[in-house]
């Protein structure tokens, strides 16, 4: 078969391959999604993994200021508008994207408006229905910041 003919035959097969590719994505994505849920704590209900109504999960994010006496909850209503909006956006994205959503940008925006908030901590509590105990279980991710920059 001449190369040109071979190319023409492959092109004729292409429409079926294109449809097959769409089907393949639907077949494989939910498995990858399961991996993202386990590893990155992505919300099972989000991102098209078809795990809605399969489990309960929520993530609650809070901003704390580090003082000599420990952590003190920052009153978000008292933050300037851009910082407040950035943290609200982070909170919503975190609830859907899990660890794929970092608080870095939100804290940087807060610090840009309120440089006095030098030492900040973001705590994200993940709550889920544990299948072994049938009770609500939880874990926390903590992010430390100095002058708006993450402390790794």
């Amino acid at each position: 078969m001449k190369p040109a003919t071979r190319f023409a035959s492959a092109w004729r097969l292409a429409p079926a391959a294109r449809f097959a590719l769409v089907v393949l994505v639907v077949a494989l994505w939910p498995l990858a999604h399961r991996g993202l849920v386990l590893r990155e704590r992505v919300n099972p209900w989000k991102l098209g993994g078809f795990a809605m109504y399969a489990s309960y999960e929520t993530q609650l994010s809070a901003l704390f200021r580090v003082t000599g006496e420990g952590f003190r909850l920052v009153d978000e209503a008292g933050l300037p508008p851009a910082g407040r909006a950035a943290f609200a956006r982070f909170r919503a994205r975190r609830a859907a994207l899990g660890r794929l959503a970092s608080p870095d940008a939100a804290v940087a925006a807060i610090h840009a408006e309120r440089p006095d908030l030098e030492h900040l901590v973001v705590v994200v509590q993940r709550l889920w229905l544990d299948r072994a105990s049938a009770h609500v279980a939880s874990e926390k991710d903590t992010y430390l910041y100095e002058a708006g920059r993450p402390v790794r």
Binding site: Y53, L129, A134, V136
Partner: protein
């Protein structure tokens, strides 16, 4: 030559013509659905943005084009572009059925004019595979998370969600329902979300077992109709508790692709009526709320 080989090409032509009709019917439903949903997004708080209004106009143009024989192949591509823009705008908060809508639109957008029904046959096969796979994955995910074997997830929802509580009041003793409702779900250690109700455990297991077995029935030609009817029954059953009308409308229309005859065309007036109610209710013209029914 023409006589000897005539029977098979004729059968192929009939199959292609049937696939063309079925894809045309499904395209009309899906594009009307996408256009209506797009306008619903616009009616909700913060939704009247230039991007969403533009996407709704584009989706409406695509839906109108789907009812003309000339340009119907272009219709799905227009609507796909509109819905992709909406999904990007709404990311990562889009519901699973928004992604299903995109996958279905992608299948329709791949159909080329002048393929003589071959692309429509491929699109029909792809949409059927997508339907079976989505159903299978919903069951598989329930298996992975393991919260259906003893009814834990349904017990959790029964006490926290009014929709679920309404249904499970029939399956649970009153004091048990009251106990579940009193638990603070945002408190570590709250529980146990297990109940002594064989009926609830049976219902819970029936859901994932049906979701895993119906796709097998759908894929085998001889049991396809049974699988499709079972799927529709499952959707109706789930609607009683979950009220996910947007997903149900789309998924039932996908299941109708497995039935003999043009059921998507027959059901189109009912779908249009439902979507029109959603839009009019969102505008306050008729009673009800499309958000209560998740018609988004």
């Amino acid at each position: 030559m023409a006589v000897a080989g005539g029977a098979e090409p004729t059968a192929d032509r009939h199959a292609s013509a049937a696939a063309r009709e079925r894809i045309r019917d499904f395209r009309r439903f899906l594009l009307v659905y996408s256009a209506a949903r797009s306008w619903l997004w616009v009616t909700f708080p913060g939704g009247a943005t230039p991007l969403l209004i533009g996407a709704a106009l584009l989706a409406s143009a695509g839906a109108a084009l789907a009812f003309r024989l000339r340009g119907e192949d272009l219709a799905a591509r227009l609507v796909l572009a509109a819905v992709l823009a909406q999904a990007a705008w709404h990311f990562p908060y889009g519901a699973n059925h928004l992604y299903l809508e995109i996958v279905c639109l992608a299948c329709l957008a791949l159909v080329r004019r002048g393929s003589d029904g071959r692309d429509e046959a491929l699109a029909l096969a792809a949409l059927r595979w997508v339907t079976a796979l989505v159903l299978f994955h919903t069951g598989l995910q329930k298996l992975f998370y393991g919260l259906y074997f003893r009814g834990e997830f349904l017990a959790f929802m029964a006490g926290s969600d009014e929709r679920f509580g309404r249904v499970f009041a029939w399956l649970l003793p009153t004091d048990e329902l009251a106990r579940l409702a009193s638990l603070d779900r945002k408190q570590t250690g709250a529980g146990p979300f297990r109940v002594d109700s064989p009926l609830l455990v049976v219902a819970s297991n029936a859901v994932w077992i049906a979701e895993l077995t119906l796709p097998a029935l759908l894929l085998w030609t001889r049991t396809r109709v049974l699988g499709a009817l079972g799927g529709v029954a499952l959707m109706l059953g789930i609607q009683v508790a979950a009220l996910e009308l947007g997903f149900a409308l789309l998924f039932v229309n996908l299941l109708l692709l497995f039935l003999p005859g043009r059921w998507n065309a027959r059901m189109l007036p009912a779908a249009v009526t439902l979507l029109a109610w959603g839009l009019l209710a969102a505008l306050g013209v008729v009673p009800g709320s499309p958000t209560d029914w998740n018609l988004l």
